[in-house]
Symmetry: C2
Subunit: 337 residues, 2 copies
C-alpha cells in the first residue's frame, strides 16, 4: 500500500507559523472515482499568500479549515484516471495541497507542456506569480514606456517578473530588496536599472536618488515602512498596485497602515488592490507572451528549490524571513520516478 | 483714509492653530494700478484645507509664507477698476485672502450672478466645496444609480453636497457626522437614507447595519478611525475618494494610516486622491447643473455664517472642533454697504 503523506493545518498561528500549527498525517494513496483522476505531486508552490489563508475571517478566498490539508498550488503528474479529459502521464498544475497524492475532478486544473519550461517554472514565472506580475503591472498599474516603475520584493517570485516585464516595456525599473546578493541579482541578472537594499540603505533617500523624475508605478509586495517611503516619491497621477504586504502578515499587533497616504491626494494618485484570479480567462494569452520572452531570453526565471514534503513548515518560513531568491518551490518527488 | 485690516500667518502651528500663530495688520486700502481692480471682500471661505496651507513642505499648492496675508477664497465687490474686463459694482469670487480689500489682476477670478443664489452659497455649494463634491463623487468615485455611497463629514460643506448629489443620482446614501443634530440635518433636511453619529455609535457596526450590500463609494473627508471602519465594509470594486483627512490635520504625532488598507486587495478596490483645481475647466458646466438643482429645490445649501474679520482665528477652529453645520463662512462686510 502506498502512503500519502500530508501536512494539515492544526491551529491558526499567532505571528510566524510554528511547527505545532501543523499536523503531519498519513493516509492510503486514494483511488479515483468516476470523473476523477489521481495526481502525484511533484512540486509545491510556497507563497506569501498562504499565511493569509491560515487566518480565520473573510478574504478573497475562504480560509483553510482546521484539520484540512494545507492549500497549495502544485505541479504533478496524472498517475490514474477515470476522467475523460485527463490521461495517465499528463503533467498538470492545480491546487493539489501539501501532500504527495491528490484526487481531482479537473476543475481549475490546467495541462502544461513540460517541454516549454522546467516544471518549477510553471509555479513561478509561468504560474500565479508570473500572472500576478503581468496583470498587476500592465492592467492595474498601467505601466507605460518611459515611466519609472518601483517594485518591492524585487528578488521574489512576483517582484522579479514585474521588474523584467517593466524593462521589456521600456520603463526605468528600480527594485527594493533585502541584502546585497538580492540586489546584485536584480541588477546584474534581471537587468533592473537599480536596486535598493532596504537593510543597508535609507529607502526614501535612495528612491529620491534613483527615481529623479519620481515614481509613476509602485508595485507593492511588502507594505509597512517601504510603502510609506514610496508614497513620498510618487508623481502626479501615479498608480500604486497593492499586491501584498509580506512585512505585515505575521504581525501580532495591528497592521501598520500607510501614514503617508495623503500623498495620494496631493498627487492625484491611486492605490489599487488586485487578486490574480480575476484575470483567469486571460492567463493563456499572458502565458504565451511570457513563454515567448522566456524562450527569447528576455525574461529570466529563477527558482529556489527545497526538497522534501516534511520540510514544508520550516521552508515556508524562508518567505517571511526573506531567505529565498526567486520562486520558492518545494520538491516533493522526482518527475521521472 | 480707509484702513485695510488683514490677518497674516505669523508662525507655523504645531497642532491646532493658536492666536499667536496669527498677526493682525493694518494697511491703507490700496489703489489699483493699470490692469488691476480693487475688491471689497464681503464673505470669506473657511476651509479645512487652510490648515494644510499653513504647513511648510511640498503639497498640491505652495504653503502660505510667514508674514503673508492668509490665503482664503472670498466673494467680493469690485469697488475700483483699471482692468478692462472688470467693472465697479460687479460681484466676483477669487482667492482674495483674509483681509478687507484685495487687489487683483483678474487671474482665477470669476464673476458671479448674485441673483442666482445668495453670496455665501458661491463659497459653498456653488464654490470649491460644491465642485469638490461634484467631481469627487461623479468623476473620481464614479458613483452610479443603485450603489451605496457613504460620506464622512456629512454635515460639512463638501459632505452635504456629496450626499445630496448621490441621492439625485439614485444612490443609497449614508452619512457619518458628529452629533445628533448634524445627523438629523443630514437625514431630515438633506434626504440622506441614514446618518451615523460617530460620537455615539460604533461606526463599523452602524455601517454594517445601514449598508447591507456594502459600500460601493466611500467619500472620505476625515481619515483616521472612520476611514478604517469604512474599509471593512467595502464591496468588490469599491472606490474610495480621498478628499481630506480633517481628523489628522492638527496631529502632532504621525498621521494614522489606514490599517485596513489590505481590504483594497481583498476587494479589488481603489483609493484615489483628488484636488478640485484639476477640474477648473469644467466648473462652469458643473455650476450650471448644481444651480439648476438648487433652483429646483433638489439641492439644499446651508451656510454657517460668523461675522467679523477679527474673529478669523477662533472661527477657523470651529472646523476642527466639528462645530459647524454646512459651509463655514466669515462675513467681512455687508453686500449693500
Amino acid at each position: 500500500m502506498t502512503i500519502n503523506h500530508q501536512i494539515r493545518l492544526a491551529a491558526r498561528p499567532m505571528g510566524l507559523p510554528k511547527d505545532s500549527d501543523w499536523q503531519r498525517t498519513e493516509e492510503p494513496m486514494p483511488e479515483p472515482a468516476e470523473g476523477q483522476f489521481l495526481v502525484k505531486v511533484l512540486y509545491l508552490s510556497l507563497d506569501p499568500a498562504m499565511r493569509g489563508w491560515m487566518n480565520d475571517g473573510k478574504s478573497y478566498i475562504p480560509p483553510v479549515g482546521l484539520g484540512e490539508v494545507m492549500r497549495a498550488g502544485a505541479v504533478g503528474k496524472v498517475i490514474a484516471s477515470k476522467h475523460p479529459k485527463f490521461s495517465v502521464g499528463e503533467v498538470v498544475v492545480g491546487t493539489f495541497g501539501v501532500q504527495e497524492y491528490a484526487l481531482s475532478d479537473g476543475r481549475a486544473v490546467n495541462k502544461i507542456d513540460p517541454g516549454l519550461a522546467p516544471l518549477p517554472v510553471w509555479l513561478g514565472t509561468l504560474g500565479m506569480p508570473g500572472m500576478t506580475a503581468y496583470f498587476g503591472l500592465l492592467e492595474v498599474g498601467e505601466a507605460k514606456a518611459g515611466e519609472t516603475v518601483v517594485v518591492s520584493g524585487a528578488a521574489g517570485a512576483v517582484g522579479g517578473v514585474v521588474g523584467q516585464i517593466a524593462k521589456i516595456k521600456g520603463c526605468r525599473v528600480v527594485g527594493i530588496a533585502g541584502g546585497a546578493d538580492k540586489c546584485r541579482y536584480a541588477v546584474e541578472e534581471m537587468g533592473f536599472d537599480a536596486c535598493i537594499d532596504y537593510k543597508a540603505e535609507d529607502v526614501k533617500t535612495a528612491l529620491k536618488q534613483h527615481c529623479p523624475k519620481g515614481i509613476d508605478v509602485y508595485f507593492d509586495n511588502v507594505g509597512g515602512d517601504i510603502l510609506d517611503a514610496a508614497l513620498t516619491q510618487i508623481t502626479r497621477g501615479a498608480r500604486i498596485v497593492i499586491c501584498g504586504a509580506i512585512s505585515q502578515y505575521n504581525n501580532t499587533t495591528p497592521v501598520k497602515g500607510p501614514s503617508n497616504y495623503m500623498s495620494l491626494l496631493v498627487n492625484r494618485a491611486s492605490m489599487k488592490g488586485m487578486v490574480v484570479f480575476d484575470y483567469a480567462d486571460r492567463y493563456a494569452i499572458a502565458g504565451r507572451e511570457m513563454a515567448g520572452w522566456l524562450v527569447a531570453g528576455k525574461l529570466k526565471s529563477r527558482e529556489d528549490i527545497v526538497e522534501g514534503l516534511q520540510t514544508f513548515p520550516e521552508t515556508l518560513l524562508k518567505l517571511f524571513k526573506g531567505e529565498n531568491t526567486g520562486k520558492l518551490v518545494l520538491k516533493v518527488a522526482d518527475d521521472h520516478e
